[in-house]
């Protein structure tokens, strides 16, 4: 083989080794490095093994602080646009006004009241939605009869926009707390149901078979194999549900409510208090951020097995 490589001319005349030569052809043009070449590599030296690892620079500013940089920049630009008069003060309040509005509303206790009212509705509605969604998904996922009866019905109902049910729910339940909680429950049930059911269906049949072989009863299979396997899907559904819960609630609270963040928005609009509108929107942003943090915490604890985190 080496003979073929070193023969730089007349490769085609070599007959039966021609194929071999063709395979090696790319090497023909590259000259062999000579030991006396001027660009000889530096002599290897022993270095700290850690220097071989891909370099991850420790940030000078902690990540948590850096993540605040974006929002801070937005507020700064907002302030500058208002201060320079680019934004009309009649249609846009500067950040300072929003802070003042927050302080005033906190002093009177109104902000806490509205925030807690909305939070209470979301927690109640979401709890009901989770309960219903998980129950239906479990029934449809574990029993064929449940699947036949439930799934088509729920899939059909799902395509009805939840907000569209508002007039009907108002007629049935009036303008108290029930219609708001119910609407949130209905709106959050579907993402939970769909994602949990899909996850139940996606549980590895081989694990179920193994579980059965090792003596798990139907209940044991559900408890030890199928439902734990559906947790990742449930959490995906929970994320969608959290976003949906606030969306639906704000809508419901703007139409028929005397309290809540949605009511605060309506109040701001009807009294032309742009600072209050902006305050309510900022609170939404913070609530969304908090909700996401909660789900991420749940993922870290419930899905520790995925990351190989021993927890000890």
């Amino acid at each position: 083989m080496t003979a073929v490589v070193s023969t730089s001319t007349g490769l085609d005349d070599l007959g039966d080794v021609g194929d071999l030569a063709a395979d090696l052809a790319p090497e023909r043009g590259t000259p062999l490095p000579r030991s006396g070449a001027s660009a000889s590599p530096p002599a290897p030296t022993l270095t700290d093994a850690r220097s071989i690892a891909p370099r991850t620079r420790r940030p000078v500013v902690p990540r948590g602080v850096r993540r605040l940089g974006g929002p801070l920049a937005v507020v700064t630009v907002w302030y500058l646009l208002c201060a320079t008069g680019v934004l009309d003060e009649r249609t846009m309040a500067p950040p300072g006004d929003v802070v003042t509005a927050a302080r005033d509303l906190l002093r009177t206790g109104e902000l806490q009241h509205h925030l807690l009212t909305s939070l209470g509705r979301v927690v109640q509605g979401l709890s009901l939605g989770i309960l219903a969604g998980v129950s239906f998904a479990t029934i449809a996922g574990l029993f064929r009869l449940g699947d036949d009866l439930l799934d088509s019905t729920l899939q059909m109902l799902r395509s009805v926009p939840t907000i569209g049910m508002l007039p009907l729910i108002m007629i049935w339940f009036g303008i108290g707390e029930e219609p708001k909680v119910l609407l949130v429950a209905v709106g959050t049930m579907f993402p939970i149901y769909i994602n949990t059911l899909a996850a139940i269906r996606g549980v590895d049949a081989k694990l179920v078979e193994a579980g059965r072989t090792f003596g798990l009863s139907r209940l044991g299979l559900a408890r030890r194999v199928i439902l734990p396997g559906a947790v990742p899907g449930f959490l995906v559904g929970l994320r969608f549900a959290l976003v949906g819960a606030w969306l639906i609630l704000i809508f419901a609270e703007q139409i028929n409510a005397r309290s809540g963040l949605g009511f605060l928005l309506t109040l701001g609009r009807s009294t032309y208090r742009i600072d209050i509108i902006l305050l309510a929107l900022a609170i939404y942003g913070m609530l969304g951020f908090t909700a996401d943090a909660i789900v991420r915490f749940l993922e870290r604890t419930l899905l520790a097995w995925r990351r190989g985190f021993t927890g000890t």
Binding site: K206, G211, F214, G215, R224, G229, W305, G308
Partner: protein, 245 residues
């Protein structure tokens, strides 16, 4: 669905046998995979089942394990059976020890830690399956099977996915554990050497029937260099339709 039904008509030969199978048939979409399998396995006997890919080895094992219905024929199998699959099939969301004792309670579940010690994984009792190596995971699967003190241990190519060195260690571990617990063993494998190394008796499944059935007469410790080993190896390879290189 006749598997595991104790059939008194089997007559002589049933007494003192762990597994008795008579005229077992199984067809997939009209294509017969098992066409009248007769098989007897004695208590504590280690039987290796060889066969070409698609010959129905795993189908037979699944029949004996009660993993599949739709069989015709008669079978007598012990009540306590365990399976080790090719892939460990551990529950990813359960730590190692709960995986071993899954489905058990009381006294049987309390044997878990001791069993985990026997496969050398005491330190990993609280580890998540995802952190285990392939060999470790399969040792957990072996512990999960043996903690049930099975009278029949069904092994479906349990070492097929392991690297060569790990496989050698697993062979030794399996031999030791089988010596201690004495279950009847049916090892499905495509590895002729593995079959000769481990088994008391080697079968070849071909054409839906047991086409070859012979005791392994190779002195322990069995070595590939042994003449008897090589001779049996040649015959088995010929039976499997592979010309020796």
């Amino acid at each position: 669905m006749t598997v595991a039904a104790v059939t008194p008509t089997l007559g002589a030969g049933v007494a003192g046998a762990a597994v008795v199978v008579r005229g077992l048939h199984r067809a997939f979409d009209g294509r017969a995979v098992l066409a009248g399998v007769d098989l007897t396995i004695g208590p504590g006997e280690f039987v290796a089942l060889l066969g070409r890919s698609g010959s129905g080895k795993s189908t037979l094992l699944r029949a004996l394990g009660g993993l599949d219905g739709d069989f015709e024929g008669q079978a007598l199998v012990p009540g306590r059976r365990s399976v080790v699959f090719q892939e460990p099939r551990l529950l990813p969301w359960a730590r190692t020890l709960p995986n071993v004792t899954v489905g058990l309670s009381g006294e049987a579940a309390r044997r878990g830690p001791a069993m985990l010690a026997e496969v050398g994984l005491t330190d990993h009792a609280r580890a998540w399956p995802v952190t285990l190596s392939g060999g470790e995971a399969q040792r957990v699967a072996l512990a999960r099977a043996l903690v049930r003190e099975p009278e029949l241990l069904l092994l479906d190519e349990p070492f097929g996915a392991l690297d060569a060195l790990t496989r050698i260690r697993m062979h030794a571990l399996l031999q030791e554990l089988c010596r201690r617990y004495r279950p009847a063993v049916l090892l499905v494998t495509h590895d002729v050497d593995e079959a000769i190394l481990l088994a008391d008796r080697v079968l070849v499944l071909s054409g839906g029937r047991i086409a070859f059935d012979e005791q392994v007469d190779v002195r322990a410790p069995r070595r590939r260099s042994d003449a008897a080993f090589a001779a049996l190896r040649s015959r088995l390879l010929a039976e499997l339709g592979v010309a020796e290189g």
